[in-house]
């Protein structure tokens, strides 16, 4: 059978991204023809600014070379402008007479720069800033002329002005609004920007309306004339007053257009054979000009072109985060404020910092940052997720608590960091490495940077920094990914959607999840399988059969794998209590199995390091005989309950913290969680058990027990929030069980309580645990029900022979 014919009009970023995505999932479905109006192969339009500034060259920014088109058998028509679509016969016609038939047509015609309709707009020396030809014209002019005027003080205009200044021209920026970038910045932030740019030698003419471009003696433009009568000399005029979706071709073919080509959530136009992506489309009334939404559209369009039929594009929230000559600014949402909103503002003009956060009903609706933009990604997350910020609005302006801890220091200005500055402490990745990967490998997204450099792929504490580096390197067109994140590459569904489907559609096996939710891979991946195994286990206790092969090795072998492939063994010591008999038993196994190292853990337990996998069942048998059970030090599970000695011994102790710790550990041990979970009980507010950096911490006071939640002492230290105070131990146990169950049922896999709590908000937790007593009781009941099946010691089972093959090595001697 002949292949279907796909014709792509537009050789830009959105069109070719769609083709790339399509080739990935259905390489043989189509015979592909591409028309490009420019004579260049597909290049990265975002990087035209660095090319103009002389930091990169045109070959540097090519995304797909001519060889790529050849390798993929794509018929490429460069320098040919498509002028007509014959929908009846399904043929497109180019200006030069070239024609191509299609079964599916993809329009990716991008946008056109808007040219002010004023006298002289067509003079030689007047250019826009859109493509390589424009940049070449500007570079050429910079070498021969002196005065440049940029009309338009938006993103693009400032980048053009900056580039021309670096090329040695005297540059004036004309802007009709009272301040620069009025769509992205409020006035105070824009003033800081302007001062900074003036220090770099740019001149600004604000609130000036351009009415004419004056023709010089040579026939070239020589001056710009304003409505107020002023004129300025200009040998080069750059029009950067905006873009308009390029809909002429679609309109000519009778396809419905509004501001752009109107598409639905599957990127189809009113003619279902014709798709459209990129800057030329209008989706739910919005036309996007930033790269992330375009790529998201490309992914969805490719999926439908490939006839997979899954995935919908539901729109994007975009942010602006850019570099103009080493200047950090970030904005998103409605930052100007207005009726019903409140603004929180931090302003320090002499240090060049300004932050404004706009709230409505205690939710973030806009943000505008100048100077220190490191928290931009965090604010953007709060905005997209609609997080209730009332619990931390007092500290909101100071950014995500402790962002940049663990060695990053106050790295406010990413631009100022040297290339040798370490960004990712886990994997030793420096700023220079990341920049090089972004440029060399043409990366656009955080995920791509993670894959290629490993930066931010381990603990994630440097994510904000990596995003900042990405934004700096890509410049003005960066924007974060849309809010809905698929679980992994195997699916379009988010964690929340999968959790809901498992619950609402009674999916009780992994196969049922794969089939019902149309997984794209036959058996998932190392990322989604452990997550699904957990979700199924948590939702259907007693019914779902745990799948060992979907567990990370630590949980499969019930020990922590070490760098040399050996394992560690941590027996449970209830509440941190032990006795001579237990210690003797541990000493005995340590000697018997020649354990190389014995250490006390941070959670008050004893850790035996360097145990060979084959020895695990035997060592567990001995420990089991001495009364020990697994300490689950290796699992996404209840780890330990740390305690202080409390009222039994301590002269300050107010309650029996050790005894309560033992009760809590007996209640909760064995439960699987989305992530590791730690408890502590301190006997008085001196808090020797460090309960306020645990997932659930109890601080005993004379009149009862304070319950604290959502702390951790890990990557980013987070102090708990006070949930409530209760009077009895029974209440402590109930609230603790209910809190754990809520976390087990609703958090995403690998999301610790701290980020979960910040995502859903403390008020939500309070509503579910404090205000809804029957709901709390029901959560606690579900927790206790699940514990029946969870509190079976995995060590004892395996010591008795379960999964024996897992621990045996087959030895063959020649």
């Amino acid at each position: 059978m002949d292949k279907l014919k796909l014709v792509v009009v537009g050789n830009g970023m959105a069109g070719m991204r769609t083709v790339e995505e399509l080739l990935k999932i259905a390489p043989d479905l189509y015979d592909i023809t591409v028309f490009g109006a420019e004579i260049h192969p597909n290049y990265n339009r975002i990087l035209l600014s660095p090319v103009l500034a002389g930091e990169q060259t045109v070959p540097d920014i090519v995304l797909n070379s001519m060889a790529w088109y050849e390798q993929n058998n794509i018929h490429l028509h460069l320098g040919k402008k498509v002028t007509r679509i014959d929908r009846k016969n399904r043929v497109v016609h180019a200006e030069d007479g070239t024609a191509a038939e299609y079964d599916r047509l993809l329009l990716a015609t991008g946008s056109n720069p808007f040219i002010l309709p004023i006298p002289g707009a067509d003079l030689p020396g007047v250019v826009s800033f859109r493509d390589i030809a424009d940049v070449e014209a500007m570079i050429n002019a910079a070498s021969r002329y002196r005065h440049a005027v940029v009309v338009g003080g938006g993103l693009l205009g400032l980048e053009a002005a900056n580039g021309l200044r670096l090329r040695g021209m005297e540059v004036s920026v004309v802007h009709i609004a009272p301040w620069l970038m009025e769509r992205q910045l409020d006035e105070p932030a824009a003033r800081l920007l302007q001062q900074n740019l003036e220090a770099k030698g740019l001149k600004f003419l604000l609130q000036k309306q351009t009415i004419e471009l004056v023709k010089g003696e040579s026939g070239r433009v020589c001056a710009v004339k304003f409505k107020d009568g002023d004129t300025v000399p200009a040998d080069l005029v750059v029009m950067a007053v905006g873009i308009r979706p390029n809909t002429a071709l679609a309109e000519g073919a009778g396809i419905h257009c509004e501001r752009g080509i109107v598409v639905n959530d599957t990127l189809q136009t009113y003619d279902p054979r014709i798709y459209a992506v990129g800057e030329c489309v209008s989706h739910r009334g919005v036309a996007y000009g930033l790269v992330a939404p375009l790529f998201e559209q490309a992914r969805v369009a490719a999926n439908h072109l490939a006839e997979y039929g899954i995935g919908r594009y539901e729109g994007s929230v975009t942010s602006t985060k850019l570099k103009v000559t080493g200047i950090d600014l970030f904005s998103a949402g409605d930052f100007s404020g207005g009726e019903g909103t409140e603004s929180l503002v931090f302003s320090d003009p002499s240090s060049g910092e300004y932050k404004k956060v706009v709230l409505k009903d205690n939710k973030l609706v806009g943000v505008c940052l100048y100077g220190d933009t490191l928290n931009g990604a965090w604010y953007f997350d709060l905005l997209r997720e609609g997080t209730d910020v009332s619990q931390f609005r007092k500290t909101l302006l100071f950014g995500q608590r402790h962002l940049g801890d663990s060695g990053h220091g106050p790295a406010d200005h990413v631009a100022a960091l040297p290339d040798t500055a370490e960004i990712c402490g886990c994997n030793g990745v420096c700023k220079g490495d990341i920049v090089k990967a972004i440029v060399d490998k043409k990366l656009f997204t955080l995920d791509e940077v993670r894959a290629h450099t490993k930066a931010s792929s381990s603990c994630g504490s440097c994510t904000g920094l990596v995003e900042a580096v990405l934004a700096h390197t890509l410049g003005g067109n960066y924007s974060a990914a849309p809010s809905k994140k698929p679980m992994c590459k195997c699916t379009e569904h988010s964690h929340d959607e999968v959790i809901a489907a498992i619950r609402d559609q009674s999916l009780k096996t992994m196969r049922a999840v794969f089939d019902t939710l149309e997984w794209k891979t036959p058996d998932g991946c190392a990322s989604c399988r452990p997550a699904l195994n957990y979700y199924l286990l948590a939702r259907w206790p007693g019914e779902y059969r745990d799948d060992a092969q979907s567990r990370f090795i630590n949980e499969r072998a019930h020990g922590n794998i070490q760098k040399d492939g050996s394992f560690s063994v941590v027996p449970r010591m209830w509440g941190g209590l032990t006795n001579p008999r237990e210690l003797r038993a541990i000493a005995d196994v340590a000697e018997k199995y020649r354990v190389p190292e014995v250490k006390v853990t941070g959670g008050q337990r004893i850790d035996l390091f360097g145990v060979k996998k084959e020895d695990l069942p035997a060592i567990w048998k001995d420990l089991s005989a001495a009364g020990f059970v697994s300490g689950h030090a290796y699992g996404k599970a209840l780890r330990t309950v740390k305690t202080c000695v409390g009222s039994q011994w301590c002269r300050f102790g107010t309650q029996d913290s050790t005894g309560l710790g033992v009760k809590l550990e007996k209640l909760t041990w064995g439960s699987w969680m989305p992530h590791k979970f730690k408890l502590a009980v301190s006997g008085c507010p001196r808090n020797c058990a460090e309960a306020t950096i645990k997932d659930f911490g109890v601080v005993c006071v004379d009149s009862g027990y304070e319950l604290h939640v959502g702390g951790n002492g890990g990557i980013k230290v987070r102090v708990t929030d006070l949930l409530t105070k209760v009077e009895t131990e029974e209440q402590v146990l109930e609230y603790c069980g209910a809190f754990i169950q809520l976390y087990r049922e609703e958090a995403h896999y690998l999301e610790r309580t701290a980020p979960w709590l910040e995502r859903v908000g403390l008020n939500y937790i309070k509503r579910r645990i404090l205000e809804d007593a029957p709901g709390r009781a029901a959560l606690f009941e579900r927790f206790k029900y699940g514990q029946q099946f969870a509190q079976i010691d995995p060590w004892k089972e395996r010591a008795e022979g379960l999964d024996a093959g897992e621990f045996q090595t087959i030895r063959i001697t020649a």
């Binding site: 190392a526 492939g565 087959i810």
Partner: protein
């Protein structure tokens, strides 16, 4: 060294799992996929020598438990963007018995493939 060596019963290989076979000179990870194909590679990730046998198997690949490198079991090559290659061994299943060959040919093929990546 080109003979087929019986290493295990097919049923002893867990589906989507692995067993470790220790020869005198080399430790081999033998995998069984969800479609009951059997693959064998040296039990050492090209990254930092992690035990691939302990990883999660999906499709025709395994993800190393130490730093999440993904290795194609059929070719031994790391999946892009990671770069590296691990030695593969020929396997066959006959009458419920799994055989492996420490063959020279397989070794050469693998070393050629690996050499391409430096």
């Amino acid at each position: 060294m080109s003979d087929w060596i019986a290493i295990a019963k097919f049923d002893d290989l867990p589906r989507l799992g692995a067993r470790v076979v220790q020869f005198d000179t080399v430790r081999v990870a033998v995998f069984r996929t969800s479609t009951d194909e059997v693959f064998a590679v040296k039990d050492a990730c090209p990254h930092r020598g992690g035990p691939l046998s302990q990883g999660i198997v999906h499709g025709q690949s395994v993800t190393c438990p130490l730093h999440n490198w993904r290795i194609d079991l059929a070719t031994g090559e790391a999946v892009q963007p990671d770069q590296g290659c691990v030695r593969t061994f020929e396997t066959k299943v006959e009458a419920g018995q799994v055989y492996l060959r420490l063959a020279d040919t397989a070794e050469e093929t693998a070393s050629v493939a690996c050499a391409a990546h430096g």
